[in-house]
């Protein structure tokens, strides 16, 4: 089932994520994606995540589509002005891509080309509004389009942002601008996620909780120190640290989180960050 159909059917949504290569050797990306055909509703293709230069999301999405996977085209505001963003939305739709996830994007200084000019001509709220208007047949200047894109528009939210109120205000603006689903930052603290859901449930929009595969205690501590809105509880840090088989424990932790989140939200978005091969196992074990 594709993402839009899964949302419509109100089934528990399962999405995953892949990053295009640095270069054009897509064999690994496609090899990891192939076992997920029929297992996930969609796979996100990241757009130069962490501001690191790679092959583009649009090409990656097209290749996944050829495999029979419904791709989610991640589109950030970092590298393109309104002309390029609008044009890429049309290009994606012309290639048969049905879902676009709109994000602000990490700042170029965080990546491997720190001297790049940061664009941010639009923000994520304005980008969503632009995409919705394109779907309704008008560009940002009000000009009519010949042939309209038909897209399922998504956005991101950080359920553990502190303070949470500005994040919720922005979430509301994203919904008002056309967001039809949300994928979240990685959740490790299900209690805090629950508090977020208590506030966000009233928006009545599908919220897909982010699951990042925990690989090591070092990774957990790094995220706690540097990544916004992520808090890995000490118990989980110790579990992965003490585990003789990290892969196995990572799968167990992910399944444990999914089990707790299952009744709280509309789905899960599994971000394997290099451990793509574990995703089918997680889906099987979690029974989703």
């Amino acid at each position: 089932m594709g993402l839009r159909e899964a949302i419509k059917a109100k089934k528990f949504i399962v999405t995953s994520e892949t990053a295009p290569p640095k270069g054009i050797d897509v064999s690994g990306m496609l090899e990891d994606a192939r076992p997920l055909v029929g297992k996930v509703d969609a796979i996100n293709v990241t757009d130069l995540q962490s501001a690191v230069m790679r092959m583009g999301s649009l090409a990656g999405c097209y290749m996944l589509k050829q495999l029979g996977i419904d791709p989610v085209f991640q589109l950030t505001c970092r590298d393109r002005n309104r002309l390029a963003l609008s044009s890429d939305i049309l290009s994606a739709s012309a290639l048969g891509i049905k879902n676009i996830l709109m994000l602000t994007g990490d700042h170029p200084t965080r990546g491997d080309h720190p001297g790049a000019k940061p664009v941010f001509d639009l923000d994520a709220v304005q980008l969503l509004g632009t995409a919705r208007n394109l779907c309704q047949g008008r560009d940002m200047s009000g000009n009519k389009l010949k042939g309209l894109p038909d897209l399922c528009l998504g956005a991101v939210v950080n359920p553990c942002a502190d303070p949470i109120e500005p994040e919720l205000i922005k979430m509301k603006k994203k919904i008002a601008s056309g967001a039809q689903f949300f994928q979240t930052q990685a959740v490790f603290d299900t209690r805090r996620f629950g508090l977020f859901m208590d506030k966000a449930a009233k928006y009545n929009v599908p919220i897909i909780a982010g699951i990042v595969l925990l690989k090591s205690a070092r990774m957990a501590l790094y995220m706690n120190d540097y990544v916004a809105g992520i808090y890995v509880p000490t118990a989980l840090v110790e579990r992965i640290d003490n585990a003789p088989d990290k892969h196995k424990e990572s799968v167990n932790i992910a399944c444990g989180l999914i089990d707790k989140l299952k009744d709280m939200c509309s789905g899960v978005h599994i971000m394997p960050i290099g451990w793509e091969r574990l995703v089918p196992d997680i889906i099987d074990k979690a029974g989703i």
């Binding site: 505001c77 970092r78 309104r82 602000t104 990490d106 700042h107 200084t109 965080r110 940061p118 941010f120 001509d121 639009l122 923000d123 994520a124 709220v125 304005q126 509004g129 940002m140 991101v156 939210v157 950080n158 942002a161 502190d162 303070p163 109120e165 500005p166 994040e167 205000i169 922005k170 509301k172 603006k173 008002a176 601008s177 930052q185 540097y226 990544v227 916004a228 809105g229």
Partner: protein, 214 residues
């Protein structure tokens, strides 16, 4: 004020490598406050250049250097010195350098400073940027915090989600502008100003170079 920083002396000497004689010009306003182009810095520059074997033909401080009429007056008064100067070294902002060139069209005018930003003087030696001169001020809606300047991404509709411990993802010593805006608006019971969607900016208002007749 316009905040400036001294260029490394090596790069100044490199600019002046074919010049034997130099006239120095500073500015009595911003560059004096920044201690980059005031009287003391002109004296220091003179000593440095003389130590390198250059002849300093004269020194002047304009008040301010970005005032064409004043630059032209200086040019008129210093005709004789100028004849003997291979170049003018301007210890002023980039605007000052260009206005000085307009007043001395036959001379080579070189920048001794890097021009950083329009900012506030917090205390001795501490300057911070508050305005990027965007041409369409919106800070009535953000309780006097400019998101175009204070948010590294210039976002107009709320935080990017990258802040950690209330600090910006780009510089962990800088407050997240949108958390600041949220808190100020909340304190003044004006949260609805943040809930309103702000449309895209009109960058045609910032086409360069700008001219205005007031």
């Amino acid at each position: 004020m316009i905040v400036t920083r001294k260029k490394e002396i090596g790069s100044v000497l490199d600019m002046l490598k074919d010049c034997k004689s130099v006239f120095l010009i500073g500015c009595a306003q911003c560059a004096t406050v920044c201690k980059t182009g005031g009287e003391q810095q002109l004296c220091d520059m003179q000593a440095l250049l003389e130590a390198e074997g250059k002849l300093v033909t004269g020194k002047a401080i304009l008040d301010p250097a970005c005032h064409l009429v004043k630059v032209k007056q200086l040019a008129y008064q210093n005709k004789a010195f100028m004849k003997n100067s291979d170049a003018i070294l301007a210890l002023t902002c980039g605007d000052g350098v260009q206005v000085i060139k307009d007043g001395f069209p036959d001379k080579m005018v070189l920048p001794a400073l890097d021009t950083l930003f329009l900012g506030e003087f917090e205390r001795g030696g501490y300057f911070s940027q508050k305005c990027v001169l965007c041409g369409d001020c919106i800070i009535d809606k953000t309780d006097a915090v400019c998101p175009i300047t204070m948010c590294a991404k210039g976002l107009l509709n709320g935080p990017c989600g990258g802040s950690k411990n209330r600090k910006c993802e780009v510089d962990r010593s800088t407050d997240c502008a949108w958390i600041l805006i949220y808190e100020r608006l909340k304190a003044s019971r004006r949260i609805e100003d943040m809930e309103r969607i702000t449309g895209p900016r009109d960058y045609s208002l910032q086409l360069k170079p700008q001219k205005v007749i007031i």
